[in-house]
Point group: D2
Chain length 341, copies 4
């Protein structure tokens, strides 16, 4: 019998409303590459949702290509992107950023989050070094909401990071692969409009929140060259031929609040799992209020649990215990969540 | 009222059988990134179809990222890829190949096709030049079946190209974005197994043949480093999170011959359009037996036709006439095809 | 006995005045990487010579790295550089431009020269194509003075090219690897100041004009990001540790007109060779008034001449004759030049 | 009056014997790009010195371009290079490695040195991670002898690193920008032949050891593709037109032991400086037996010393003291070295 899978938040297909919409529109003829009425309408819906009628919106298929295109767009050849050590671009994208010629400039993370003080200290030290023109110049800052550890930037922490970025004229980019679960977490302090106004560019992740695939990039301002961003997307192999598929999915996600509903559900199921672990006196590596939970298991607990569940092994601790990750999604059922433990 | 669209072969969604299969499997839980039973089965079906049980099969989302990953994989840093001037990688991929650091070495095309003689002449001349180590070294050959002009390599012409490639130890890569319409054209001489055995790597295009998206890469031999090809795909932003979507679609395409059926239909409808133009004494720029047709219109004909149809303007001729492209697909109805003219 | 070499213009060491200066300054202690008084003074001399006190001047070691750094600096990721087919960056730099991610957009050359009409036609056609955002965007124009064939842009031809560039907002870059022999040619119409004012950036070639090595880049305007150009030079591996060597050489070349004297000598010796060929009724492939001469030899003449001389074989003609190149330099003696034939 | 400079080891020109040789050969005519008798002879001398008649030797101008060319040559697109955090390629080359598409995989350094245990631990952990194909694959190891901190690998430490490299089939590359001062240090345990046999490729630094410029790359084995390494050098902008200048300098350095003599002198003068600091009870940040010395100065000492000397500020300590670097060279006189303090 197959196990219940909590490995990631993209193990099923898509939310049935999205599938329904794809079915409904299947025979519509449209031009390719995102020049169609669905993409146009999805952009309008997103501009409304982010509270910026001038925002430039683009759709891409997956997170790595999205991160790469944005970073390649914003950096000059001699610049790098600042990120924390656990940042997705630094670890799990097979060097996609470096493949475009840019270094990831690594700062220490704090449960996956960047601290404004660390950023400021790095920049001060960098420019104080008389040989700094022999080093990769910092060109932008990359953070994730929620982070790789399911943690969240508070209003205060994000505001401070933005202030340092402005002082040093560095664009701030927020990776929103899991933005939905951030925005709907019980610990969240920031609205989608806050996010949009506290950075220069971010993306709204669809793949990990109930779409078949798809990420919506939102530029808060009209950067020089943005009119050619589609050419860059094409160059990166990220311009979907049947681009309308992205528009249709984001229409479905943003016309009736499905985006938030999916994420809220994932969080709710995660909280049930969290409670179950707590009830069993199993501690957590990090306290998370989003859909990623990081319990610390003994070898025996691991052995028992892995009979029924698939989940990710995150880190081995020195005392022999194991940090694992349980990840819920829009599709996690009560039966799955409650069965836990 | 909206026009009938003949701009491209990817204007609709997907064949209903594929949508059905996506719906049927929507709630299945699988691991991400193509490590799932659907991808495994699709690979088995493809290995059977190409007649090579040892072929290495990979799935990607779109043509540009597929071309880029394969070419980046095969070339050394100082090598370039040989293609004809009209080759897709040379014109319509926004410099995706160059973005990986490689030059496209351009040879003249003959109605979109490479001639073995031209290839041989280029290679002889190249190595006869004593300063050749100051030039980009030829590292592989890229051709398309069918070509950008809907034309086809014959058995003889492909065999000769392969022979030159072997003489110079250059891998031969066939871009099969439109391989389906090639294989089912009335003018075709080559089976899928022939294709597989007459090149080192090729891909079977799904996007332009009834899938929502998807291309299946087939390596005929186990090149050094191929075990890490997934890492390269990831680096290029081409590793789909819900990888099973690719497996499911190629299962549907290859278990009952849907792949060929779709393409045969597109060709059949194209032949109807071809007949209609011929009946109206409208000449063709190139004689094509696949789903792309290139009639030469007068300005007046263009004006009339563009009221009812969308199609691509291909080239302006010196006499004021215009070469246009009509493209059919698996979804082109009789009503659409017959209405023409 | 060794043959007389006319292969290139960099077969000897350097002009004795330069060697003398290097010897004189050998024990001076300076900071590295071009932050020294010699580089500063050389920059002042060059700003005077080009008639632009605000010009930004940088020194690099060789032509390929200079071309690459400038082009990488000026282009955005999705842009390419326009050049004629025979352009040095398109043929003899082993794909250095593509290695930085950019395509060379090739236009037909006319004896090595770009025509403003061709440039304009290309740009008009490019932007008229509705799919142009799937193609590499033109981002700058590259030409050489003198060209690979020793030919020269006239005042009129260069002015027209500049006008098209301005219309399309494309920076114009002049490769001046052989600028000296252009400026001192009897057919020349343009001063160094003209050159500086008719382009956005150019370089003054030292390697092919009597220096041990060295090229002086001159930016006519202060492009955004130029303050970090040194970081880009470093990244390209082009920041010479003992940077003063470049300053010292350009001081020597520009304080008393040695730069012009060297080039004038090379041209004068070339004209002697030209006369000798003419006297022998040997025709030329191209009429050149600079230090590169391209006689057309019969196989027999080639056999005879190659006993005493080394020169480059340029191209084989259909009638069996051979275009060869004789190249003179600051060091070509009368004995060498007159001995010819 | 100008200060005495201890900033780096390349503040003067070159050793007089080298200048003499350049003068002597100045009028010799040779072919360009290193195809000349001086380069040939220098290669023979180096093959003898490293004890490997089959070694492949190449010359380049500077360290950054040398590191870049070697690393670009050895890595596949999805691979990175392992280095310690203080490694030159990770800090002071402006992202030259990343500009070729490759990540620098950073391990902790120990006074600038890599430990075999750290390397082994990293590799074990990497391959134990089931998601490792989403990460940059380790493709080679980079270390420096002597290191950025003037420290040295012992025979034991280098042998152990080599063993781990062999176990994981990773080429080992030794950056020898300061190999001379390593080989002649009183603390050294390894001969040039040892170095050559304990790695797969290394380079012998000339720029920091008395040449005007120049690094000699030595490949211990004939890697696939090495026949095209010159094309890669050209692509990287590193193929010197007057290539003989490199040959002439390495002839001078290796025919009578000048390479070792220069380095021995630099070390000797450094030891005098070390003694002077020790006599003044000024402590060191790191104990170095090569030409780089890292005393820890109080603000007052710094103020006093910087009136007479130029040196590099290395790091500010928390207690307000400053680590600085004094660097000697082949040219450091007794007067300079003794005057210290």
């Amino acid at each position: 019998m197959s196990k219940i899978k909590f490995e990631t938040d993209y193990q099923e297909g898509c939310h049935p409303k999205i599938l329904e919409r794809l079915t409904l529109t299947n025979y519509e003829q449209t031009s390719g590459y995102g020049v169609d009425s669905h993409c146009e309408r999805a952009k309008v819906l997103i501009r409304e949702a982010v509270g910026n009628p001038d925002a430039e919106v683009f759709f891409m298929v997956g997170g790595t290509q999205t991160n790469t295109a944005i970073i390649k767009f914003l950096l000059k050849p001699w610049e790098g992107v600042i990120a924390v050590n656990s940042g997705h671009i630094n670890v799990h994208e097979s060097g996609a950023i470096e493949a475009t010629g840019h270094k990831v400039l690594v700062l220490p993370g704090h449960e996956g989050l960047l601290k404004a003080e660390d950023l400021k200290h790095y920049l001060e030290t960098f420019y104080a070094d008389p040989t700094y023109d022999h080093m990769v110049q910092p060109g932008m800052v990359y953070i994730s909401q929620s982070s790789e550890y399911g943690t969240l930037y508070t209003r205060d922490s994000l505001t401070k990071i933005k202030a340092v970025c402005e002082e040093y004229k560095l664009p701030l980019f927020i990776d929103g692969a899991r933005l939905g679960t951030a925005l709907t977490s019980e610990a969240n302090e920031l609205t989608l409009k806050d996010i949009a106004s506290l950075c220069d560019v971010f993306y709204i992740g669809g793949t990990k929140n109930g779409a078949l695939f798809g990420e919506a990039i939102v530029f808060s301002q009209n950067f020089a060259g943005l009119k050619d961003f589609r050419t860059l997307i094409k160059q990166q192999g990220g311009l979907l031929a049947k681009g309308k598929l992205l528009g249709i999915q984001f229409e479905a996600l943003f016309e009736d609040g499905l985006y938030f509903e999916n994420a809220r559900h994932a969080n709710k199921q995660a909280m049930k799992i969290k409670q179950a672990f707590t009830d069993s006196h199993i501690p957590f590596y990090i306290e998370s209020f989003t859909n990623q939970q990081f319990p610390i298991l003994t070898q025996e607990q691991h052995k028992t649990l892995s009979r029924e569940f698939d989940y990710e092994t995150w880190e081995s601790l020195n005392d022999g215990k194991i940090v694992v990750r349980f990840c819920t999604s829009w599709a996690t059922t009560d039966a799955q969540a409650i069965k836990n433990l």
